[in-house]
């Protein structure tokens, strides 16, 4: 019985909270394991620095990910190079794994569209802020790939809150009907801003919602990167190469927790207890994987320090790189509305340019 065929009420786990092996380990090289560990630390450190940039006014509102590294890094590693990722807005860690430079994530949250200008060879879709809308994009792209005869998997992230939106329903339903090679990865971090998971739906799990679409749903310990990898890998493989009579899509519910605020504009102490946060911190994916790797002597103090240092340097470089990108030229506003500038936009642009010419930037930036 594959992991995906398990009763959705049972949570898949490989490592327990202390990093002890309690389930079958996925087949991952030491190198890969260290890379995952490093990327989790990278994401964690990035997060800390991003929050602080926001506090210093060097960045706008930012959605932190701490606590969710295991789910992000574990699942993103399960994708093959040719596969695609359709993120929501919090998966900065997963994006790194897929090749999106941290600099771009920073730029995006610094209010710069270039953050979404993904390089041609990076299979990551732009950030999606309107909740659950990206689920349909992933389904559509996955479906299109089959129509084109490609063999790729399409993974999309969304939160527990997103499962309440109509687009979640329509996206999973289309995927079932058209047997799209999609992996629906729900980062159930227990909260949709201040709304707890129980208020989102009366179903016992989110995984069981897959029953409505005729394909498999599975709940995994989302703070166990190895379990996440394992489950996602199976889903990716099934998407591309299902057994006879098996549908390609999978709904994965990765049970996890966001340690910090919803965004830097949010104050979680208003709606949740510190106790709860502390309890979940026991499940922190980073020490868990670290202890697993130390037990296997893949990591030691020295290596960990080295990693931490390199991670800090990488983030610092990314910040410097992002901050040294000049503010976008205002003209760029007009450039990409259409492939070609239509007459009415040319006029507006010219009026704009003339005003800027006459008055300088102060004509716009005052206040």
């Amino acid at each position: 019985m594959s992991t995906l065929e398990r009763d959705p009420l049972e949570q898949v786990q490989v490592l327990d909270e202390d990093g002890n092996v309690v389930g079958e380990e996925p087949d991952l090289s030491e190198e890969k394991l260290v890379e995952m560990y490093r990327q989790m630390r990278l994401a964690r450190h990035f997060d800390k620095r991003a929050v602080s940039l926001q506090r210093q006014g060097r960045m706008g509102t930012y959605p932190p990910l701490s606590g969710q590294e295991g789910a992000q890094i574990g699942s993103a590693h399960a994708l093959d190079d040719e596969d695609w990722l359709f993120p929501s807005y919090r998966e900065h860690g997963a994006a790194v794994v897929r090749g999106l430079p941290l600099k771009q994530t920073l730029l995006y949250w610094m209010g710069h569209e270039d953050g979404n200008k993904v390089a041609e060879d990076v299979n990551v879709f732009p950030v999606a802020v309107p909740i659950a809308t990206q689920i349909l994009h992933a389904t559509g792209a996955a479906w299109a790939s089959r129509l084109k005869g490609d063999e790729k998997a399409f993974l999309t992230y969304f939160g527990d809150g997103a499962t309440s939106e109509g687009d979640f329903h329509e996206g999973l339903n289309f995927a079932g009907v058209f047997d799209a090679p999609a992996v629906f990865f729900c980062n159930n971090n227990q909260w949709a801003i201040s709304v707890p998971r129980e208020r989102q739906t009366a179903s016992e799990t989110l995984a069981q919602k897959a029953v409505a679409y005729g394909f498999e749903g599975v709940q995994v310990d989302g703070m166990d990167p190895l379990a996440v990898y394992k489950v996602t890998r199976e889903a990716v493989e099934k998407a591309k190469n299902p057994d006879e009579g098996e549908l390609r899509p999978t709904l994965i519910e990765a049970v996890q927790y966001r340690f910090g605020a919803h965004t830097t504009a949010d104050d979680p102490t208003v709606y949740r207890d510190d106790d709860e946060v502390e309890r979940w911190k026991q499940k922190d994916p980073i020490p868990r994987l670290e202890s697993y790797l130390r037990d296997r002597e893949i990591l030691d103090d020295e290596r960990v320090e080295e990693i931490q240092a390199s991670v800090e340097a990488e983030v610092a470089d990314a910040i410097e790189a992002a901050e040294s990108v000049p503010r976008p030229e205002p003209e760029e506003m007009f450039e990409h509305t259409f492939a070609e500038l239509p007459p009415h936009l040319r006029e507006q642009y010219e009026e704009f340019a003339a005003l800027r010419e006459r008055h300088g930037d102060s004509a716009f930036l005052e206040d």
Binding site: K117, P126, P130, H137, G166, D167, G171, F174, P343
Partner: protein
């Protein structure tokens, strides 16, 4: 226009079908999807025969979910297909409104051109066919207000095919609203080959010196009728069929207005917030000094579209159009 041998005499809805057929032949990336577009050939038969011709992978019956249809089309378009989703009636585009507004019209900007969204969302629009509730919407203004969308409404079989082909070839998304009142009202010559009618260009349907009348879609007929009636009284209307509602062909309407100094706009959508206001604003921004009378808006009333027993009272009729134009002319 092609010579007689190469043209067919088609209704407007047949021309929709012909446009789809032609472009699906030209381009393998073009696919059609929506409710009942496959085996059934569309509830208005706009996709008739396409399923047999191109197969179920290119003419796809979907589940009943408009956001799903449009949202999946976004993913398909980004992945390199050219989807032509049909929404069964324009009144059922609203469940997809979020996808249309938040994504379809923005993907290019949001990704600075890395991802694009070439798709044509087709939907029959408008009243007058004794259709059930919610089936008579005419809200082109909603889409015209969203910056990244083009909005096209044909009024003749010839234009329909040419505009549809242009829309499918356009690298950006187009909302293509089809006047179902005149789906089968008359026939026109339509070349068998492919051809484009450019998006963004209005057509002068009738020349005249006295008053410029701007209209589109199903309202071109009562407008032309009113113009003929007025001509008998010596009032010569210049009737402009906008064809593209967004972006509007300002040059053509302004040039006409500079000649006539008077104008009316005829649309079946409600007046308040309708395209009539936009056109009025454009005319007086560009040519106020030629203006001799207020631009008259002859439109649907600002009430929900009534059930069909009253729809004829709701829609601008030739007499209403005539009276409205006369008001402008006699001002």
């Amino acid at each position: 226009m092609a010579d007689a041998q190469q043209t067919q005499n088609l209704t407007l809805v047949q021309s929709v079908r012909d446009g789809l057929y032609t472009e699906m032949h030209n381009d393998d990336e073009v696919i059609v999807l929506g409710e009942d577009v496959g085996k059934n050939g569309g509830v208005f038969r706009a996709t008739e025969g396409l399923y047999d011709e191109f197969g179920e992978d290119r003419v796809i019956d979907t589940p009943l979910a408009e956001s799903g249809i449009v949202g999946c089309s976004v993913g398909m378009a980004a992945y390199g297909l050219k989807p032509v989703p049909e929404i069964q009636f324009s009144g059922f585009m609203y469940p997809a409104f979020d996808q249309i507004v938040s994504h379809v019209g923005r993907l290019r900007t949001r990704s600075r051109g890395r991802f694009t969204c070439p798709m044509v969302i087709r939907a029959p629009y408008g009243g007058g066919i004794r259709a059930p509730e919610h089936h008579s919407e005419s809200k082109e203004a909603f889409y015209a207000h969203e910056p990244g969308l083009k909005v096209v409404i044909p009024s003749t079989p010839y234009d329909t095919k040419g505009l549809l082909i242009s829309a499918i070839r356009d690298p950006d998304p187009v909302i293509f609203l089809e006047p179902k009142l005149i789906y089968r009202a008359f026939r026109g010559d339509v070349p068998e080959d492919d051809y484009e009618v450019p998006i963004g260009e209005a057509a002068v349907r009738r020349e005249g010196e006295d008053v410029t009348v701007v209209t589109w879609g199903a309202m071109t007929r009562p407008t032309m009728e009113a113009a003929e009636n007025l001509a008998e009284e010596g009032v010569e209307c210049e009737v402009i069929d906008l064809r593209t509602i967004s972006p509007i062909d300002k040059e053509t309407i302004v040039e006409s207005f500079e000649k006539t100094g008077r104008a009316a706009v005829v649309h079946e959508a409600p007046k308040k917030g309708g395209i009539g206001g936009e056109i009025t604003a454009m005319l007086q921004e560009e040519a106020l000094l030629y203006q001799e009378a207020p631009v008259k808006r002859i439109t649907g009333f600002d009430v929900p579209f009534p059930l069909y027993a009253l729809e004829d009272y709701y829609l601008p009729s030739p007499t209403r159009v005539e009276e409205g134009i006369r008001e402008t002319v006699e001002f």
